[in-house]
């Protein structure tokens, strides 16, 4: 067993981990280490070959691999230790990490930990689709890795369930590679992915989008042979007589992402049931002091620019954790029309960065922060959409914290 001591240890070398590590180093941490179980850096980005990354941050539209390389170069320049093929098994309340790699067991003692483990994809079992268990059913991200990294086509006649961004982007990618994309099936009355992806990935290639539809049966002996889809009513009940059998050899699932937080959960860090990520305060510090969270394991982002910007705050705070004082703690609860709010806790007054998601698409709304029925912040929005995360800064006055009264963020 090898034992080492660092100032900041980052778990996960995706865009969040890299941005946090660079920021920690820039903020004064001397020894920064990034651990990743894969053999490469950049997390999911090397397989996201489409463009649209970094538009807000750099002013130009980069592809996933280019965006990742920009951060890898910065991390190398900052002399951050980047350790691939290293799997973190656990960490304890004294901030000692146990990891394993080809050199055996590693004990890493650190002053701060940054969690940036990203997400997993939801599988067939999340949607509880009945039927056979043939081959030919993949999550959209796995199919993306097959096509973009390993040069393997997952199938020929392909149906996609779920209209999340990865599913939409795969619909176009599969067309480019000569597959027959039969359609995208979405249970909600509106697409889950960004509007530009609906237009540029489906409409451009006349790929049908079946809203208010779901998959009701999967059939196939060895390989997938057909998928039954049906229209649903307002209560998500199948409307009898609308069932339709679609012959296909491949079903891709784009059902959303689940933050990967087994490590955090096992250490007793409090998890938000809605986001699936750790509960954090305005410093992005979790319920275990010295442990910070960022990236998709904190909340699922739609733009990497915003993810990196938040991750940099986590990194800077992890490096300067001595200066982080907690005064009093108040909760931030999601109210009407709001699904979740990050941070979930506030421990100091002043300018606070919030991000949230709404429940359904609406026009001309206001985001309001209430303290005991009194409005303390309000922001007008021309439109809101669950696919677009909303973020803003709000000033939290000292007297609110003094009162120790919880805040509510709602839509009006």
């Amino acid at each position: 067993m090898t034992t080492s001591t660092v100032d900041v240890a980052v778990i996960g070398a995706g865009p969040a981990g890299l941005a946090a590590a660079i920021s920690a180093k820039e903020s004064g941490a001397k020894n920064v280490i990034v651990l990743d179980r894969n053999s490469w850096l950049g997390g999911i980005l090397p397989q996201c070959i489409h463009d649209g990354f970094g538009v807000i941050e750099t002013g130009s539209s980069m592809t996933g691999p280019e965006y990742a390389q920009m951060y890898i170069n910065m991390a190398e320049k900052q002399k951050i230790t980047l350790l691939c093929e290293t799997m973190v098994l656990s960490f304890d309340k004294n901030l000692t990490i146990t990891a394993v790699n080809k050199n055996g067991l590693q004990k890493i003692k650190t002053k701060s930990i940054i969690l940036s483990m990203g997400c997993r994809e939801r599988t067939r079992w999340f949607a509880m689709i009945p039927g056979d268990r043939p081959s030919g059913i993949f999550t959209a991200g796995v199919a993306q890795a097959f096509i973009n990294l390993y040069n393997i086509m997952p199938g020929k006649n392909i149906l996609i369930l779920g209209s999340g961004d990865v599913g939409l982007i795969m619909a176009r990618r599969l067309k480019f590679e000569g597959a027959n994309v039969l359609g995208v099936v979405e249970i909600l009355p509106f697409p889950s992915g960004l509007p530009r992806n609906v237009v540029q990935c489906l409409d451009d290639y006349d790929t049908p989008l079946y809203l208010n539809h779901t998959v009701t049966y999967i059939q196939g002996r060895e390989r997938l042979e057909s998928v039954t889809i049906a229209q649903i009513d307002k209560n998500r009940k199948v409307i009898p007589g609308t069932e339709r059998k679609i012959k296909c050899d491949t079903l891709l699932l784009s059902l959303g992402l689940i933050p990967e937080n087994e490590l955090a959960g096992n250490t007793g860090i409090n998890i938000d049931n809605t986001t699936g990520g750790p509960i954090v305060n305005q410093f992005l510090e979790t319920s275990l002091p010295g442990v910070f969270a960022c990236g998709n394991c904190l909340q699922v982002y739609d733009l990497v620019d915003e993810l990196s910007s938040d991750a940099k705050r986590a990194g800077a705070n992890a490096a300067q954790k001595k200066n982080l004082k907690t005064e009093k703690t108040i909760k931030i609860n999601p109210g009407k029309g709001v699904r979740y709010v990050v941070p979930q806790l506030i421990t100091v007054p002043g300018k606070t960065h919030f991000s949230l998601r709404v429940i359904k698409p609406e026009e001309s709304k206001r985001i309001i922060i209430n303290s005991g029925g009194k409005e303390v912040f309000s922001k007008k929005l021309a439109w809101v959409n669950p696919a677009n995360m909303i973020s803003f800064d709000a000033e939290i006055p000292n007297e609110i914290l003094e009162k120790e009264q919880d805040l509510e963020v709602c839509l009006a």
């Binding site: 070959i49 463009d51 691999p65 390389q69 390993y150 509007p195 530009r196 439109w383 677009n388």
Partner: protein, 124 residues
């Protein structure tokens, strides 16, 4: 020939369905847009729709079997599959450096295709 076309605006997520009329050179918005930006978007979409093109190219003796590539400029929409067909014919030998020109003047568009990833050569 006059052509009426419904365009979904992607300038903002309201996603106005803008009904446009064009004969290839003249352009007119009939209805559907809620703001001025929608007119500009619809004009480009009706007269000269273009898209950034990203795909992959085969690599021999590389650490990975593929390298990701992109068009240096948005490609006219109706040329996309022609460009893809030309890209599919290419096989590169590792190493490939990010930014390297993979194909010049793809399908006569005067647009180049460049790599977006570095693929190192495999050690034998």
């Amino acid at each position: 020939m006059t052509n009426e076309k419904k365009i979904t605006c992607i300038v903002c997520p309201i996603g106005c369905k803008i009904l446009t009329k064009t004969d290839g050179t003249h352009f007119e918005v009939l209805n559907g847009n809620k703001c001025k930006r929608g007119v500009e978007y619809a004009r480009n979409e009706a007269l000269d729709p273009r898209r950034m093109l990203t795909t992959t190219v085969l690599v021999k003796n590389g650490k990975w079997p593929l390298v990701s590539v992109k068009s240096t400029k948005p490609v006219p929409k109706q040329k996309i599959f022609e460009v893809l067909k030309e890209i599919k014919k290419i096989t590169l030998a590792a190493p490939v450096t990010s930014g390297q020109v993979v194909l010049e003047n793809a399908a006569g568009t005067k647009i180049d295709i460049v790599s977006t990833k570095t693929i190192t050569k495999i050690k034998k």
